[in-house]
Amino acid sequence: MAGFDKLTERFSRKLAQGTSRRSSLAWLGLVATGDATIPTLPIARAATPHGDGAARPPIPSGSAQDPGDRASCDYWRYCAIDGFLCSCCGGTVNSCPPGTEMSPITWIGTCTNPADGRAYVISYNDCCGVTSCGQCLCNRNEGDRPQVRPQSNNDYNWCLGTESSVYNCSVAAIIGVAVEDAG
């Protein structure tokens, strides 16, 4: 598809440009090539209307280097997430609930881990094929940019390349460390 080649060319240029402003990517290991998503659903973080009305016990990582509550929108990895937290939906912070399919296309955000001060590259994969989980709706937008830059925008339903585009929840997986760019 001619149009698509142009697209990736543009994306390529813009990704370099967009990420170089603040950081470049240091890949720690095997990156799930082609796995990337932009989750969904904006709503004021302070105003999530349903599902988390009752107090929830925390879901800690069990590691002091990964502090916080994975059922809370304040958890450090969620700095640019938008959707229902899979940790509350039968999945975990980095895996989808049973019955869903993880989107192969991921939007990537950069969040600072308060324990080690490092900026991590977070992959916000959507889980697809099952209806809205309805639990732990969370929207944060640090680094979020308009839809004109898809790879930096969390408003898209990135249940693309999946059997169904129906959105269930979003994960926040570590895929690398980002470092401040010299230039």
């Binding site: 598809m1 698509f4 990736t8 994306f11 390529s12 990704l15 370099a16 170089s20 990517l25 890949w27 720690l28 290991g29 990156v31 799930a32 090539t33 082609g34 796995d35 990337a36 599902g51 009752a54 107090a55 929830r56 925390p58 280097q65 059922a71 509350c88 939906c89 039968g90 999945g91 975990t92 980095n94 895996s95 989808c96 609930p97 049973p98 019955g99 869903t100 399919e101 993880m102 192969p104 296309i105 991921t106 080690d116 001060g117 490092r118 992959s123 994969n125 099952v130 209806t131 809205s132 989980c133 309805g134 693309l160 390349g161 269930n168 570590i174 895929i175 690398g176 460390v177 470092v179």
Partner: protein, 394 residues
């Protein structure tokens, strides 16, 4: 899980083209957190533990988008294990030995309009992925607020029976193993399906009788029998969903009478004698059963009945604030459990120490010790918008 990365593999490729391996932004003694492998999708144990409950979320605010929530009632941190679709006044069955869940649903080609399709979907208990589908002909499956009696097994779970209502009443006989519809049985004036014997069912009828049918191996009716005067619909109507003690169905009436019907043989056999949930002071005007799923049983054959202190004509779906534990054979009220608020549906798990599960009108689910009545844990409104039916996984 098959992935089709499409063109975005190229895009990710561009991500990989740019980076430079770099030092962490801030020096830290610990190595950085490791990259996490993707994609990753959870699976469940194919055999659900006895503490798990399948919670039917009726989802009033989007009735076509009902769900079954798989809930671990011992897990206060992650109670919700997954969702199974239960579209448009659906029904659900669970066959633990076959590791399958069945939903009986209705779909429209344009969500709310267009061509109607009724179908049974077969879901794998471990992956919650669909394994197959059996289309139900005629667009006639009964749609109502969820009752267990409109979708039931028979023939040792090889077959399912689907209640139809157009408002003509009939039952569609489905061969689950063979993935096909066997036929349809007219059932004028009778409603709900209570599995009976090895390959048959019973239904309650509008004249107060119960009818039982045995089925031939082709799904047609082999024999039938009617027992009159099983319920007095005007004065002592029975809640539609009984609690099962072995093969005996225990129904409770709007005013607390208990009616046992032995379904172990070919034909339903009402038990002789009378029993009731008993009485108590303090009702205004009186204590009566109230809620949606108001009666449950434990392995000892005791019944648990959700009771409202404001019992009167019309209160039977208002929910209740206590659960009364009754020995129906001895016709004796054993104890009362204070729910500390209104419950709407209840069930009892078959764990070694049984738990009383209570769904509240606001979606919260609470767990009580069925024996001593203490509040064991609260799961919050973490699984379903409108938990209306609770089915223990064992």
């Amino acid at each position: 899980m098959r992935y089709r990365p499409m063109g975005m593999a190229l895009m990710a490729g561009t991500l990989l083209a740019a980076p430079a391996i770099a030092e962490p932004a801030r020096a830290d003694t610990a190595p950085p957190l490791a990259a996490e492998e993707l994609p990753s999708v959870q699976t469940l144990p194919a055999d659900y533990p006895a503490s798990w409950v399948l919670v039917h979320d009726f989802h009033f605010n989007s009735l076509m988008d009902g769900r079954i929530a798989i809930v671990d009632t011992t897990d206060q941190v992650r109670p919700l294990k997954g969702l199974v679709r239960a579209a448009q006044f659906a029904n659900m069955l669970h066959a633990p030995a076959k590791h399958e869940i069945y939903t009986s649903e209705t779909f429209y080609s344009r969500l709310t309009r267009g061509e109607r399709t009724d179908a049974i979907t077969i879901w794998d208990t471990a992956t919650l992925q669909p394994k197959g589908e059996i289309v139900l002909p005629g667009g006639k499956r009964q749609q109502s607020v969820t009752y267990s009696g409109t979708f039931q097994f028979t023939n040792n779970q090889h077959w399912a029976l689907v209640a139809n209502f157009t408002p003509a009443q009939s039952v569609t006989v489905v061969d689950l193993d063979g993935r096909k519809v066997l036929g349809e049985i007219d059932l004028p004036g009778c409603t709900h399906i209570y599995p009976t014997g090895t390959r048959g069912f019973s239904s309650l009828c509008a004249d107060g009788s119960i009818i039982s049918m045995t089925l031939a191996d082709d799904g047609t009716v082999a024999s039938s029998k009617v027992v009159e005067n099983v319920q007095d619909i005007d004065n002592h109507p029975l809640f539609g969903m009984p609690a099962m003690v072995g093969k005996t169905a225990w129904f409770v009436s709007y005013d607390g009478q208990l009616r046992g019907i032995d379904l172990s043989g070919e034909f339903a056999r009402p038990l002789p004698g009378t029993a009731s949930v008993g009485s108590a002071a303090g009702g205004a005007p009186e204590w009566r059963p109230g809620g949606w799923q108001v009666i449950a049983s434990d392995a000892q054959g005791l019944l648990y009945v959700l009771m409202s202190p404001n019992g009167r004509e019309g209160s039977h779906k208002d929910g209740g604030t206590e659960v009364w534990v009754v020995d129906p054979v001895a016709n004796k009220q054993l104890r009362r459990i204070d729910l500390g608020g209104v419950g709407f549906s209840i069930t009892v798990t078959h764990e070694a120490r049984p738990q009383l599960i209570v769904a509240r009108p606001d979606g919260r689910i609470d767990v009580f010790d069925a024996q001593d009545g203490t509040l064991v844990r609260q799961l919050g409104a973490t699984a379903a918008f409108n938990p209306i039916l609770l089915a223990p996984a064992q």
